[in-house]
């Protein structure tokens, strides 16, 4: 790329001028122009393939073979869908899949509802409202591991603030049902602000004149919300929902720090299942199959997201 650092000024005539001076530098510059797009794209494509594409293909292959970590690679045998069948016969995996879907559905619903409520509140034109909007950025930016660790201290049954405030020692993370709710609650705490700010951006895009006109025509507040705000807001809600589904489905950090999948398997979400199968049981083929099931589910949601008409198209 160094040849472009020189200034090939005036060596190439303007296009369409009919005169083309074939100096060496001019040729170099023209050739460089031809290669500009490939050169600009290449590093991105190469890195994506090397760090992501290649491992994913490796994992796809691994999900179709029988092989254990102490065998030489040459002994790996193609077994078709056996790993997938094993997986769907494994009660731990099935429980983990169900639990992850439930966790995702519950956290996303709560985040959307809470986010919508907060956004409506923050949309009011009041003194100091900007301060409240800015303050809401903080929890969503916090390192998830630190957030989970903070909540672990806050929820401690003996010295934690939460149990002191409610006045009874609740063991938040030790009880199987409560642990999943708690872990999900921390995620809602961290991510509802993101949903709120996204929806707030949508609310701000509702034209004031339309609202005003409808109000003059005698529409009630509820009618205004149902017939004007909500339809205009729906693309934002949909984007928020699909994005949150994708990110809650991969939940790992908060669960890992707060419960590590326990007690028992009460919070064993799919990411933790894959992590344990890969790095504790070293069952690489089974872990690969589980990874690909996760990938397929995310792929479907992502395609929905891409297919969704975006709130405003730029091109």
């Amino acid at each position: 790329m160094s040849h472009d650092d020189r200034h090939p000024e005036r060596l190439v005539s303007p296009p369409g001028s009919g005169v083309r001076r074939l100096t060496t530098a001019g040729l170099v510059s023209k050739t460089a122009d031809l290669f500009f797009v490939p050169l600009a794209i290449l590093p991105t494509v190469a890195l994506s393939i090397a760090v992501l594409g290649f491992p994913l293909i490796l994992s796809l292959i691994m999900s179709f073979v029988a092989w254990s970590i102490d065998q030489p690679v040459s002994e790996a045998q193609f077994v078709g869908l056996r790993n997938y069948r094993d997986l769907f016969a494994d009660p731990v995996f099935l429980a983990s899949l169900g639990l992850t879907l439930g966790y995702t559905a519950a956290t996303v619903c709560l985040e959307i509802l809470l986010g919508l409520a907060i956004a409506l509140l923050l949309n009011l034109e009041l003194p100091f409202i900007r301060f409240f909007r800015t303050a809401l950025i903080v929890p969503m930016m916090v390192t998830p591991i630190v957030a989970a660790l903070c909540w672990k201290l806050l929820l401690d049954p003996t010295y934690g603030l939460v149990d002191h405030l409610i006045g009874s020692p609740v063991i938040w993370l030790g009880d199987p049902t409560l642990a999943l709710i708690t872990v999900g609650g921390v995620s809602v705490w961290q991510n509802a602000p993101f949903v709120a700010l996204l929806i707030l951006a949508g609310l701000q895009s509702v034209p004031k004149e339309v609202m005003e006109a409808a109000r003059i025509d005698g529409a009630t507040k509820i009618a205004l919300f149902r017939h004007i705000t909500l339809p205009l807001l729906s693309p934002y809600l949909l984007v928020a929902m699909l994005l949150r589904i994708i990110f809650e489905f991969r939940a790992f950090d908060n669960v890992y720090v707060m419960t590590a999948g326990g007690p028992g398997n009460a919070t064993l979400v799919l990411s933790i299942f894959v992590y344990n199968t890969s790095f504790f049981s070293f069952d690489l083929t089974l872990a690969s199959a589980a990874s690909w099931i996760m990938l397929l589910i995310v792929l479907i949601v992502s395609l929905l997201l891409i297919a969704t008409k975006r709130p405003k198209e730029t091109d």
């Binding site: 200034h7 090939p8 005539s13 303007p14 296009p15 510059s29 500009f36 600009a40 794209i41 590093p43 991105t44 890195l47 994506s48 090397a50 760090v51 994913l56 490796l58 691994m62 509140l121 009041l126 409202i129 909007r133 303050a135 809401l136 950025i137 903080v138 929890p139 916090v142 390192t143 998830p144 660790l149 903070c150 806050l154 010295y159 603030l161 705490w189 996204l198 951006a201 949508g202 895009s205 934002y236 984007v239 994005l243 991969r250 890992y256 990411s271 894959v274 890969s278 690489l284 872990a287 690969s288 690909w292 996760m294 990938l295 949601v301 997201l305 891409i306 975006r310 198209e313 730029t314």
Partner: protein, 286 residues
């Protein structure tokens, strides 16, 4: 809101209600963090009291303890090094691609663009096992370079989506004029488009910074004790029970959060479009 039909009494009630709700919201979202900030400023005795102490003379002893022990500093240094490199490398790799996608029509353009979106959506754990195997084979396991490459790849979608929008908003005429003056494509990119897209590049840089700084899962799998980042070190505190040093946990947590919070408040207006991976192009925090 200021309709004359409201009596001043009703308006007063309305304000009381709205501000009460806003303050409730603020307490819910900020008190947990402020409480931990408080813990970090307490002595061991002050932390383990029942009921918890609400007023005390703050002490910095936890911070001195954390910063004088080697572990935290090593991990913090790793975090800084890895994050800075990720931002630089991913900008270097990603901005030319974003520019090419914004300006030129070429076969595969749409494919690359949407593949990048999909990359952002993939659950990292699904790629980490094969990546771990591959890194072990090529000797990148437990190295900062390996971690930087992984973060760069996962930053690229964000970089490309965000900067592409900004490149598209740069008027084409300026580059056309530069071509007339004999500039090459690379020249037009470096001297005209890049400086004009600076706000977008800043946003992209900070989003990639957040990704690298806040990540746990990649670092947990791809590093060892010498190369681990701060979140990995912090996660090791989680396993232990109440006997552990809460002051140190709180102080390290706060030290890790400070840079992120400062950075994100500086770019707050551009965070939403970036974090939604371009799904909401024009959404700015008002």
């Amino acid at each position: 809101m200021k309709s004359l039909s409201h009596t001043s009494y009703r308006r007063g009630c309305y304000y009381v209600f709205v501000y009460a709700a806003l303050i409730c919201m603020l307490v819910t979202f900020l008190l947990p963090l402020l409480w931990v900030l408080g813990l970090s400023l307490k002595t061991r005795e002050q932390i383990f009291t029942t009921p918890p102490l609400f007023l005390w003379w703050p002490t910095l002893e936890n911070y001195f303890a954390v910063l004088s022990g080697g572990n935290f500093l090593v991990s913090f240094w790793n975090s800084l090094l890895v994050t800075t490199s990720t931002v630089l490398v991913s900008l270097f790799v990603g901005t030319p691609a974003a520019y090419a996608i914004a300006r030129f029509r070429f076969p595969g353009r749409k494919l690359i663009f949407f593949s990048l979106l999909l990359m952002r959506m993939l659950p990292p754990i699904a790629a980490l096992l094969p990546l771990y195997v591959m890194y072990s084979l090529v000797g990148l396991i437990n190295t900062r370079i390996g971690l930087i490459l992984a973060y760069t790849t996962f930053s690229l979608p964000v970089i490309v989506w965000v900067t592409r929008d900004f490149f598209q908003s740069v008027p084409r005429d300026l580059e056309e004029a530069a071509y007339m003056d004999g500039a090459s494509r690379m020249g037009a990119f470096l001297k005209i488009a890049l400086p004009l897209a600076k706000p977008g590049i800043t946003t992209a840089a900070i989003l990639s910074l957040l990704l690298a700084w806040n990540d746990f899962i990649f670092a947990a799998i791809l590093t060892n004790n010498a190369t681990r980042t701060s979140p990995v070190l912090l996660s090791t505190y989680a396993g232990s029970e109440t006997g552990t040093d809460w002051g140190a946990i709180a102080a390290s947590g706060i030290l890790v959060l400070l840079p992120v919070i400062v950075f994100s408040l500086t770019v707050q207006r551009h965070l939403i479009p970036g974090l939604s991976s371009g799904a909401v192009n024009d959404a700015r925090i008002p």
